[in-house]
C-alpha cells in the first residue's frame, strides 16, 4: 500500500434519504493515488456513499464528517466539490437535450479552469485538448457532437462518464457501479481506460456489486459495505473471497461482532 497523506477521510458518517437511515456510521480513509473498492449487496448503501460524497441534495447527513484535502467536504456545494477535484461517474448518467457532449465538456472544463485561475479554452483550443485526451485513451470523437447521453446505449453512457473523467482530471474519482449493465468487451474497455488514468496524484473509489471489474482493475484496498457499515476491509484477495463465498458470511459476522 502506498503511503501518501489522506486525501479523503470519512468518519462516523450517517446518512438518510427520505427519512430512512442508509449509512449507519462509515469510516474510510483514502490516500493519494490509492484505488479503493467498495463492494456489497444490494441496498447496503454503496451508491448512497458515492452520491453523498458528490453532494447529491436528496441525502441528509445525520452525523459524522468527511474531510477532503483537510477541508469539510460535506459543507461544499456539488460544484465546489467538483472544482476541488471530486468526480462522480454516475450509475445512471442523465440525458441532456440540446447540449452536445463537446459543449458540455468544455463548459465543465472551463468551470474547473476558472477555479484554478487558468484561462478558459475557446472551442478551437478545447478541440485540440480533447483530441489529445481521446488519443491518450485510444477513443474516437464519435460521441462528441451528440447531445449528452441522449439516445446513447447503456455502454456508451458509461464510456461517456469515463471520458469526462479523462477530460476533467479529478484528484478523487468515484465510480458508482460503472460496470453494471456492461458486456464483457465494454467492461474491459472501461477498465483499461481507468488503468491508464491511474496516477500518483489521483485516487479512485470504485463502487461495485460484482467482483469482475476488479479482475481488470486491481484495487489497493477492498471494503465490504453491509447494512450501512463497512464490515470488513482487506487487500485485493478479499474481492475473490467474496466472489467465491457471497456476502452472507460477512453479514453474519457483522451481526456477531
Amino acid at each position: 500500500m502506498t503511503k501518501g497523506k489522506a486525501l479523503l477521510e470519512v468518519q462516523g458518517l450517517r446518512v438518510a434519504v427520505a427519512g430512512n437511515e442508509i449509512l449507519k456510521g462509515v469510516d474510510l480513509a483514502i490516500r493519494d493515488g490509492e484505488v479503493h473498492a467498495i463492494m456489497g449487496p444490494n441496498g447496503s448503501g454503496k451508491s448512497t456513499l458515492a452520491q453523498v460524497l458528490a453532494g447529491h441534495p436528496a441525502y441528509t447527513v445525520l452525523a459524522g464528517t468527511a474531510k477532503y484535502e483537510g477541508k469539510d467536504l460535506l459543507d461544499m456545494k456539488p460544484e465546489e466539490r467538483a472544482r476541488a477535484g471530486v468526480f462522480l461517474a454516475f450509475q445512471y448518467p442523465v440525458e441532456i437535450r440540446g447540449i452536445t457532449n463537446s459543449y458540455f465538456l468544455r463548459s465543465a472544463l472551463n468551470a474547473l479552469r476558472r477555479e484554478r485561475g487558468e484561462a478558459e479554452l475557446d472551442p478551437i483550443d478545447f478541440l485540440q485538448f480533447l483530441e489529445q485526451k481521446l488519443k491518450a485513451i485510444g477513443w474516437d470523437d464519435s460521441m462528441m457532437n451528440r447531445p449528452v447521453n441522449e439516445g446513447f446505449s447503456g455502454g456508451e453512457k458509461k464510456r461517456n462518464e469515463i471520458l469526462q473523467l479523462a477530460v476533467l482530471e479529478p484528484r478523487l474519482a468515484i465510480l458508482d457501479e460503472t460496470d453494471s449493465g456492461l458486456d464483457i468487451d465494454a467492461l474491459k474497455t472501461v477498465a483499461e481506460t481507468v488503468n491508464k488514468l491511474r496516477a500518483p496524484s489521483r485516487a479512485f473509489l470504485i463502487v461495485t456489486h460484482y467482483q469482475r471489474l476488479l479482475n481488470y482493475i486491481t484495487p489497493d484496498v477492498v471494503h465490504v459495505l453491509a447494512d450501512g457499515r463497512i464490515v470488513k476491509s482487506g487487500g485485493p484477495e478479499l474481492a475473490h473471497e467474496l466472489e467465491a463465498k457471497g456476502y452472507d458470511w460477512l453479514r453474519d459476522a457483522a451481526m456477531v461482532s
Binding site: A54, G55, H56, P57, K77, P78, E79, R81, A82, R83, F87, L88, F90, P93, V94, E95, I96, R97, G98, I99, F104, S107, A108, A111, L112, E115, P147, Q164, L168
Partner: protein, 430 residues
C-alpha cells in the same frame, strides 16, 4: 360584435376604393370571404379549437387597416431582421411591398400584388386553394383583404442557391392591422429554402393577421422557416398551410419569440405517397405572453413520414398552448408519424397546455406521441453541478438546450446563429 361590423365596414370602404382594380375572380374571392367572416364572427373559448385562447383583446379592439408607411425605414434599420445580405428578398412595411428594400427575381420572387396581374393563371390556380376558411374566421378575414404579400415560385427542377427572405414589418404608433398573404409554389423536383420573418419597428399594439400557403410538388424539397419576433404588445394571428406532392420533402420550422397574444394554425397535408415532413417548433415566452400553436398533420397518402417536435420554454406568467392533431386517412398505410411536445416551466406562474389528438383510420401505421410539462429536471441539474458547473449556469445551460434542440434541426446556418444569439440574449436577461 361591434368589431366584426367595423372590420366589415372597413372592408367595404377598401374594396370600393383602393382594391377595385382587381380581376373579377379575385373580387369574388374577397366578397365570399368577407361574407364568411361576417357569418363566423370571432372564435370563442367554447369552441374546441380555441379552448385555451381568448381573442377578446382582438375582437374588442379597434384596428384600422394599415396605410402605406409615411416613412420607409432604411436597410440599416432593418438589417437586424435579415439573415443574410445575399439572395432574393422581399420586404413589406405595414403590409406594403417595398421595392427599395427588396431584391426580387422577375415574376418568380415577387410581390403578390404584382403577380396577381402578371401571372394570373398561376396565382389563380393556387391562391386560397389550401388554407381553409369555412371554419377559420381569421383566414377568411385575411382572404377578404388579400392584396399584397410574398410570392415565391420555383420552376420545376430549379434550385435556389440562397435562402429567400420574406420580411414583414409593422411601423408607426397607430393600432393598425395588416393582412399579409403569401403564396409559395415549389414545382416538381425543385429545391429552395425560405425564411419568413415578422417583426416590428413599432411599440404599438398592432395586429398581424397573416396567411401563408405552401405547395411542394412531386420530388421537390423546401426548407421553410418562420420567425415570429413581433413586439411584446402585438397581436399575431397566422395560418400556414402546406400541401405536399409525391416523394417530396418539407421541413417546416417555427420560432415564436414575440407577441402579447399569438395564435398560429399550422396545417400540413401529405397528399402524395412517400412524402417526408418535419414540423419543428420553438416558443420562448416570458412576461404575460400567450402563444398558441394549433397544428394538424393530414396523412392523406400512404408511405409518408412525419416528425413533429415542438419545445416550449415558459417564464414568468407566460402561457404556451400546443395542439398536435394527426389524421391518418383510410388507405394511408405505412404512415410513420412521431410527435413530441416538451414544455419547460421556468416559473411557478408559467403554464402550458399540451394536447395530442390522433385520428387514425388506417390499420398498418406507426404513430407515437409524447408530451411533457414541468420544471428543470433536478437530476440533470445535479449532473451538471457535479461536473463543476455552477447552479445558475447549469439552469441556463439546460434551458438553452431546450431551445438549441429545435434550432439544431435548421439547416440554414446564418439563421440558426441569429436565433441562437436571440435565445442566449433572452436567457441572459433572466
Amino acid at each position: 360584435m361591434a368589431h366584426v361590423e367595423q372590420l366589415v365596414g372597413s372592408y367595404r370602404a377598401w374594396a370600393s376604393n383602393g382594391a377595385s382594380r382587381a380581376p373579377d375572380w379575385l373580387k369574388d374571392l374577397r366578397e365570399g370571404s368577407i361574407a364568411r367572416f361576417h357569418d363566423l364572427g370571432f372564435p370563442n373559448m367554447k369552441q374546441e379549437a380555441w379552448r385555451f385562447t381568448s381573442v377578446a383583446p382582438i375582437a374588442e379592439g379597434a384596428f384600422d387597416l394599415a396605410k402605406p408607411p409615411t416613412r420607409i425605414p432604411s436597410l440599416e434599420e432593418i438589417r437586424r431582421f435579415l439573415v443574410l445580405e445575399a439572395g432574393y428578398r422581399l420586404v413589406f412595411v405595414d403590409g406594403f411591398f417595398q421595392r427599395s428594400l427588396s431584391t426580387p427575381f422577375f415574376d418568380d420572387v415577387q410581390s403578390l400584388a404584382h403577380v396577381v396581374t402578371h401571372r394570373q393563371d398561376l396565382v389563380r390556380q393556387h391562391l386560397a386553394k389550401y388554407a381553409a376558411t369555412q371554419d377559420r374566421p381569421f383566414s377568411a378575414l385575411n382572404t377578404a383583404f388579400v392584396s399584397d404579400g410574398a410570392f415565391v415560385h420555383v420552376p420545376a427542377k430549379a434550385t435556389v442557391a440562397e435562402p429567400v427572405q420574406l420580411v414583414f414589418l409593422t411601423t408607426g404608433d397607430k393600432q393598425v392591422v395588416t393582412h399579409p398573404r403569401n403564396l409559395v409554389v415549389i414545382e416538381r423536383e425543385a429545391r429552395a429554402a425560405i425564411v419568413e420573418t415578422y417583426a416590428s419597428l413599432a411599440g404599438s399594439a398592432y395586429w398581424t393577421n397573416a396567411v401563408t400557403e405552401i405547395v411542394v410538388g412531386d420530388g421537390a424539397r423546401l426548407d421553410y422557416h418562420r420567425v415570429q419576433r413581433e413586439s411584446d404588445r402585438a397581436y399575431h394571428v397566422a395560418a400556414t398551410q402546406s400541401h405536399q406532392g409525391r416523394d417530396s420533402t418539407l421541413n417546416l420550422h417555427f420560432v415564436a419569440f414575440g407577441g402579447k397574444l399569438a395564435r398560429h394554425d399550422i396545417g400540413a397535408v401529405m397528399a402524395g405517397p412517400g412524402g417526408t415532413l418535419i414540423l419543428n417548433g420553438l416558443y420562448l415566452l416570458a412576461g404575460q405572453q400567450h402563444a398558441d400553436h394549433h397544428t394538424t398533420i393530414d396523412h392523406a397518402a400512404d408511405h409518408c413520414q412525419s416528425h413533429e417536435y415542438f419545445n416550449g420554454v415558459l417564464d414568468e406568467k407566460s402561457r404556451g398552448v400546443f395542439t398536435g392533431r394527426i389524421i391518418v386517412r383510410p388507405g394511408a398505410q405505412k404512415t410513420d408519424s412521431k410527435q413530441t411536445n416538451n414544455n419547460l416551466l421556468l416559473s411557478t406562474d408559467a403554464h402550458a397546455d399540451s394536447q395530442p389528438q390522433l385520428e387514425i383510420y388506417a390499420d398498418d401505421v406507426k404513430c407515437t406521441h409524447g408530451s411533457t410539462v414541468g420544471p428543470l429536471d433536478p437530476r440533470a441539474l445535479f449532473y451538471l453541478c457535479s461536473r463543476g458547473i455552477g447552479e445558475q449556469e447549469a439552469r441556463r445551460l439546460l434551458t438553452y438546450g431546450f431551445a438549441a434542440e429545435i434550432l439544431g434541426r435548421m439547416d440554414v446556418a446564418p439563421l440558426r446563429l441569429q436565433l441562437d444569439a436571440i435565445v442566449r440574449g433572452r436567457l441572459a436577461e433572466q
